[in-house]
Symmetry: C2
Subunit: 245 residues, 2 copies
């Protein structure tokens, strides 16, 4: 039995779990959302590290063989500590996102968006620069999270928010948009509309590609998922089951 | 020395502390923002009660004579427990808000807005009905908080969000708008524009009136304020000092 733990500060990481589930590379996925302390994006580094280690501790109870950090804020500041503390493979959405575009032309124009914490941590930018990319624009876009949480993923309000954040960039010149927050894939339609020439980098798909590349895990017949949360468990399960469809 | 503790899940309660500071009814205000676990509005009742008791515990270290719960979510679910646990007067924004309109004509049309938790707790609605008010419309408006946090308090995006939430009500018929979240006073201009005939009930002003009415506290010559937070303390102090101006 191959079991994968996936954690996020809240429900956003379900977009990642959904892709892992579809890929059937594990028999079971245990998802943990730290809803008692969501969001991580506006919290301090040491606090995020502490919360991440506690989340990993919770998941270890399920004998997981693999840990996916489906939270960009946690991946940007806590991934090294998690790798140090755990004896199983740990994989984060940031390294997966960078891996997904590694083979692209280094002159391509990359737009990186995420929470304030993810952007200011410079984790993505450093990894991208190490790969040779130089044309990187990074913009924190914190309003997208509450919009997705409210189910507002297209239409006038979303368009205005796109204008607010991206009025100063030439949108048609962007080749790659890295969706650096697990909530953002739910806005895919709007991203395609505003960035018609860009390839969208989705954390969930990037994680699956990275797992397939690095670990030779045979496809399973079935894959199940169980949801846990640190607060509002029932409400969380209902929403998660809806989002994973 | 009269010392007042004020707590909120984050920075919103600064709109309340600001009014208490201006009123000079205490020598010192100790403000505590539970930024490590903000926001409370999407958390479970028992979790909010636990967090609120911990916040009160922290403030007790400063020998406070008075506690103001400047958080609508905490006031809606934890006020009874706080009153039971503390031997000093405890006052919440919800009772203050209701007290502020007690003398109004009972047929007036009231619009109550707040976080999902505040609205679903029915605390405001129950107190208003007990006072004889019947024409109450209550709407959760969660997007206002991130907008204020981002400093977006008027303009097109805000107008669209007003349309989203209030398209089905006759705005000119609203007599009273209860701003049931401490972030909302920062949107005052937009509320005045969209609800031209309404009196706005602001938690901070309501708290000051209630303290003056219930407790005979002589005005002080000066009042100081100190800010504490459970996370990102320096960042919080900078923002709080800006907001309190």
């Amino acid at each position: 039995m191959n079991r994968c733990g996936v954690f996020d500060s809240g429900i956003g990481g379900v977009s990642v779990a959904k892709e892992i589930l579809k890929a059937k590379i594990f028999d079971e996925i245990i998802y943990y959302g730290d809803t008692a302390r969501v969001p991580y994006g506006n919290k301090n580094e040491s606090t995020i590290i502490r919360y991440s280690l506690e989340a990993a501790e919770f998941l270890k109870n399920f004998d997981i063989d693999f840990l996916v950090v489906a939270c960009n804020s946690a991946s940007s500041v806590a991934i090294d500590e998690l790798k140090k503390e755990l004896s199983i493979p740990v994989i984060g959405v940031i390294e997966a996102g960078v891996e997904a575009i590694k083979q692209e032309d280094k002159n391509k124009n990359i737009l990186l968006i995420g929470t304030r914490r993810t952007i200011s941590s410079q984790k993505y930018q450093t990894l991208l620069k190490n790969e040779g990319f130089n044309n990187i624009i990074s913009i924190p876009t914190p309003l997208f999270v509450p919009l997705v949480e409210e189910g507002i993923v297209e239409g006038e309000i979303v368009d205005r928010v796109f204008e607010l954040y991206f009025s100063e960039i030439e949108k048609e010149k962007i080749d790659i948009v890295i969706l650096g927050c697990t909530h953002y894939p739910f806005l895919e339609k709007s991203f395609k509309k505003h960035f018609p020439n860009a390839k969208l980098i989705h954390s969930g798909q990037a994680i699956v590609s990275l797992i397939n590349k690095r670990f030779d895990i045979p496809t399973k017949k079935n894959c199940k998922i169980k949801f846990f949360a640190s607060d509002n468990i029932e409400e969380f399960r209902i929403k998660a089951k809806e989002w994973i469809k």
